[in-house]
């Protein structure tokens, strides 16, 4: 049985010697699935007996059991507490995951998002009863416009990739409005995978632009691709190598010169708040990951929020709904024709990730204009400190200062038998979350480190010391130790190949397992 197998402790040859009777190892507690802890009839809620009524379900009453396990509240609390302890979060330690901006998530933001009058608002209440919420959304819009120097914001996208979709749909709608929909979008090869996927989801063909030897867009290769059928460029700036695209104004001018638009991926806004505004760089639209730059928690993979700032040229095409100032307070525009503009449609149910808006606004108000600039400066300072301290040990991919993240490649591991993956797994044993690996694709065996502004110098020094030590171990020929890493985690390296080849995506009762075999 599965549960027994899992409780059986480390097998022979495992890195940790000396098994225990229970399979637990001190504070590292093994925990079966809730389905394996079923006490039929047990429940973690006390609900009253429903009144006897004449049912109105027609012929559609459920037949047969569902298959959900019964557990009491203490069992549920212990279960999720135990499994939570198998996770590494920002609260646990340093999380230098490049391109992800894993910064501290303040708890006041959580508290405020749950306030009565915010967390319990229904999206379809009469608008007269939600004026305070509209004010909050409008205030956030003002902060985002001011930080980016852009005239408009579409608030409804649910995440970064959803914001990309919103921006590219605005671009396509703007071209269609002139009768010239265009076919192609240019995307640098260093781009995050969502960029080409988004362009394809908007019906565009994708053309890749190479990077130059300085880690930036190859300007002449870019200009060669410019043609009448190019709708625009999707460019991340600062880019995924952690570098500012210093030709950005030329790039913007060139794309505008052929009647195209400049989509800026704003994933790395954390480097430049209060230092430069995308609106001054010729950007037409840019999504902002509130879950990166503005500290709304990543939550193990979401929810995020991806508002998109828009230029004057694209603003009329912004999707529904949006808040405007009406005669009697704020008003939510939910239908075409209720206000000016030619909205391209709707992207999401209701009005956006409002709970994330509350958290992001609390974060912005906490920092203010002075603090936001300090955030970017400290994020850039921390990254450059890592770069300076590690460039002689690891192999820095490009010269010069970086922005908020530092990129290394695997040249320093040449002939050691240790890969970027091995190195990252060894970092886990040293108590750190690994950096981003094998991304961006423009350097070999990439290691992208983003410390963010919320790490102390002591924390960075500890990390630097560990990375230097691991590099020395790799060079000293300790290849087996790297291949065995991680050794001290709740699970060691997992077999991803067989997981994909024979997908098991849900638990089934043991008798069904047998029947299925």
């Amino acid at each position: 049985m599965m549960a027994e197998k899992m409780r059986s402790g480390p097998a022979a040859g495992g890195a940790v010697t000396g098994g225990t009777i229970t399979g637990h190892r001190g504070l590292q507690l093994e925990e079966p699935l809730i389905f394996e802890q079923d006490s039929p009839g047990a429940t973690g809620v006390d609900l009253p007996q429903p009144a006897a009524v004449a049912e109105r379900l027609g012929e559609l009453k459920r037949q047969g059991p569902i298959g959900l396990p019964g557990l009491s509240e203490p069992q549920v609390v212990r279960h999720y507490t135990r499994i939570s302890q198998k996770n590494y979060g920002i609260d646990s330690g340093f999380y230098p995951l490049g391109s992800c901006t894993m910064k501290h998530n303040p708890r006041i933001n959580e508290k405020l998002a749950r306030l009565p009058g915010l967390g319990d608002l229904h999206p379809l209440q009469p608008q007269s009863t939600t004026q305070g919420m509209f004010e909050l959304m409008d205030t956030l819009v003002h902060w985002l416009k001011t930080i980016t120097g852009m005239p408009a914001v579409a608030m409804s996208p649910a995440a970064g990739a959803h914001g990309e979709l919103c921006g590219m749909m605005c671009i396509r709608a703007a071209h269609e409005a002139t009768g010239d929909p265009r076919k192609k979008v240019l995307v640098p090869e260093s781009a995050h995978g969502t960029n080409p996927a988004t362009a394809a989801a908007c019906g565009y063909a994708v053309e890749s632009i190479p990077a130059n030897d300085r880690g930036r867009v190859d300007l002449s290769a870019f200009k060669e691709k410019l043609a009448d059928d190019v709708a625009g460029i999707m460019l991340t700036n600062p880019n995924t190598c952690g570098l500012f695209e210093n030709d950005i104004i030329d790039i913007a001018d060139a794309i505008h010169g052929i009647g195209g638009f400049f989509y800026c991926d704003g994933a790395n806004l954390n480097a430049i708040m209060g230092k430069a505004r995308p609106g001054d760089l010729g950007v037409d639209c840019m999504h902002i990951n509130l879950h990166k730059t503005f500290s709304t928690p990543h939550g193990g993979g979401g929810p995020g929020a991806g508002p998109v700032v828009l230029s004057e040229a694209l603003a009329p095409f912004a999707p529904l709904p949006y808040v405007i100032h009406g005669d009697a307070g704020f008003r939510l525009v939910e239908h075409e024709g209720q206000s000016g503009g030619q909205p391209f449609g709707r992207l999401k149910g209701f009005h956006g990730q409002v709970g994330m808006f509350i958290r992001a606004l609390a974060y912005m108000m906490s920092h203010g204009a002075d603090g936001l600039r300090q955030v970017s400066e400290d994020a850039v300072l921390n990254a450059n400190y890592l770069l300076a301290q590690l460039k002689d040990t690891l192999s820095a991919s490009f010269d010069g200062p970086c922005m908020h993240e530092a990129l290394f490649d695997d040249h320093f591991l040449k002939d050691t038998g240790v890969t970027t993956l091995d190195f990252a797994k060894a970092m886990i044993d040293e108590g750190f979350h690994p950096m981003t690996m094998y991304f961006p694709l423009v350097v070999h065996g990439a290691m992208l480190m983003e410390p963010t502004e919320t790490e102390s110098k002591a924390s960075l020094d500890e990390y630097i010391n560990a990375v230097k030590g691991l590099a020395a171990q790799a060079r000293s020929g300790a290849v087996d130790a790297f291949h065995a890493a991680p050794r001290f985690t709740p699970r060691r390296r997992l077999d991803e190949t067989s997981a994909a080849r024979h997908p098991v995506l849900r638990w089934r009762p043991p008798q069904e397992e047998v029947a299925a075999e």
Partner: protein, 447 residues
């Protein structure tokens, strides 16, 4: 500043270690002419107390559903969330973790997602589910695009009882990807027959049950008609609690279920973040959008979980991915899972029965009011009533009395005069008998 650990002394020493003369030296790649000199025109930093005061003042200008008898549904439902749900999801190990790309340090998130997928598959009656989508509307739109890929056809037929936001999101994707969306008119009186609309080019039929008006649908005839023409049946569920007492879409022949999971564990939060569910049959797994957790073993032979089938996803497949989705709704999925774990089989079924019983009671009481007509023959926990005057006016009048009465259909269809007197009324376990008294007596006064 409380979130910034570096001191000025740290900054000075770090700049020296870098060999930079000043912080602006590190920004030298930004063209001089676009570098900002002074501060942005925004207020300065503020303490926790000041921030709390400012946002609390905004909250005070709203009427929350917790402070009024509230009967709002139409895709978002207020249910009681056990205190332990909100406590557990705020554990830092869950709250502050990234997507579980490093499985050795993410077994907590991955195990919870595996449990989530199992629960979703069980209640929908499907073989498997993904690890969540942004919300029900985006999940339904992704389901249509998935059906287009599976069938290699591009004409979606949509019920008039589908939530208008869901239909509008599909229409957006249809516009930009160039597939056809054929939508029936809204039919609050019932009797919709989609079967004649299915042809050989149809990739899928999308039908919601309980539908926008609260009516339940037997999916079996439409499933058979779809399968006869090589189309998939997409069942949409906006009130997931209904599946405690209503037959599952899978048991009635659905090929894909796209649902909103907000009702379990997730607060209303003015419409987001919520959590989209997407479940399907085994044979379509590899055409699913989004992340999915799968079971495997580690090098010591111990069971564990990883993100799997990633060759469908954008970070591997780039422009050939099944979807551009990356971030999903992980923490809301966790809340859903924990709430469902607390309920268990018995609690989930009883919760559904409580909701249904409350709705039957309220429908009976409202039907007694002169001029009010309940349109539904069947419903779960919401139904549509016809009023003798425009529902939007009635809702505003109710709000003035401190009652959040329901959703006027005109909120979705402002230009359809036939719908202007209709109101969708939802009732859940949180509504008390005195809430119902308040609504009934206020309606009597207003009408």
């Amino acid at each position: 500043m409380r979130y910034l650990p570096l001191t000025d002394e740290d900054r000075r020493r770090m700049l020296a270690a870098i060999g930079a003369s000043s912080i602006d030296d590190l920004y030298r790649d930004i063209p001089e002419k676009v570098r900002l000199g002074g501060l942005l025109d925004l207020p300065g930093h503020a303490g926790e107390l000041e921030v709390e005061r400012a946002i609390t003042a905004m909250a005070a200008r709203n009427l929350g559903t917790g402070a009024a008898p509230a009967f709002l549904g139409a895709g978002a439902y207020r249910h009681h969330i056990p205190a332990s749900v909100d406590y557990l999801i705020q554990r830092g190990e869950f709250l502050t973790a990234y997507t579980p790309y490093q499985p050795e340090v993410s077994q907590g998130t991955l195990q919870a997602l595996f449990e989530f997928q199992t629960q979703v598959a069980a209640i929908t009656g499907m073989a498997a589910a993904n690890a969540s989508m942004y919300d029900g509307a985006t999940s339904a739109a992704e389901a249509v695009m998935m059906a287009n890929r599976v069938t290699r056809k591009s004409r979606a037929v949509v019920s008039g009882g589908l939530h208008p936001h869901y239909r509008e999101v599909m229409a957006t994707h249809a516009r930009f990807l160039g597939f056809d969306l054929v939508a029936a008119d809204p039919g609050p009186a019932g009797g919709e027959d989609l079967i004649p609309m299915i042809d050989d080019q149809t990739s899928c039929v999308v039908i919601q049950s309980p539908d926008l008006f609260g009516r339940l649908h037997d999916l079996r005839p439409i499933a058979a008609a779809c399968h006869e023409k090589g189309a998939l049946l997409i069942a949409v569920v906006t009130e997931i609690v209904s599946l405690g007492v209503v037959e599952s879409p899978g048991a009635m022949g659905a090929d894909i279920v796209a649902a909103e999971g907000q009702s379990l564990g997730v607060p209303l939060s003015f419409g987001g973040p919520h959590v989209g569910l997407l479940a399907t049959r085994d044979r379509y797994l590899r055409q699913m959008p989004g992340r999915v957790a799968g079971q495997t073993e580690d090098v010591d032979g111990r069971r564990g979980w990883v993100l799997t089938l990633s060759t469908r996803e954008q970070h591997i497949r780039r422009e050939k991915a099944t979807s551009n989705i990356c971030t999903n709704s992980g923490l809301c999925a966790l809340a859903f899972t924990i709430h469902m774990a607390l309920l268990g089989e018995e609690g989930f079924v009883r919760l559904a029965r409580l909701n249904h019983a409350a709705a039957v009671t309220l429908a009976g009481r409202l039907a007694e009011i002169g001029g009010v007509e309940v349109l539904n023959d069947t419903f779960f926990n919401e139904f549509t009533i016809r009023l003798p005057k425009p529902a939007a006016v009635v809702v505003e009048a109710l709000a003035e009395k401190g009652i959040l009465g329901g959703v006027p259909l005109s909120r979705f269809y402002p230009d359809d005069d036939d719908l202007s007197n209709l109101m969708i009324v939802a009732v859940t376990e949180v509504n008390t008998g005195s809430d119902m008294d308040a609504l009934a007596s206020a309606l009597r006064e207003i009408l």
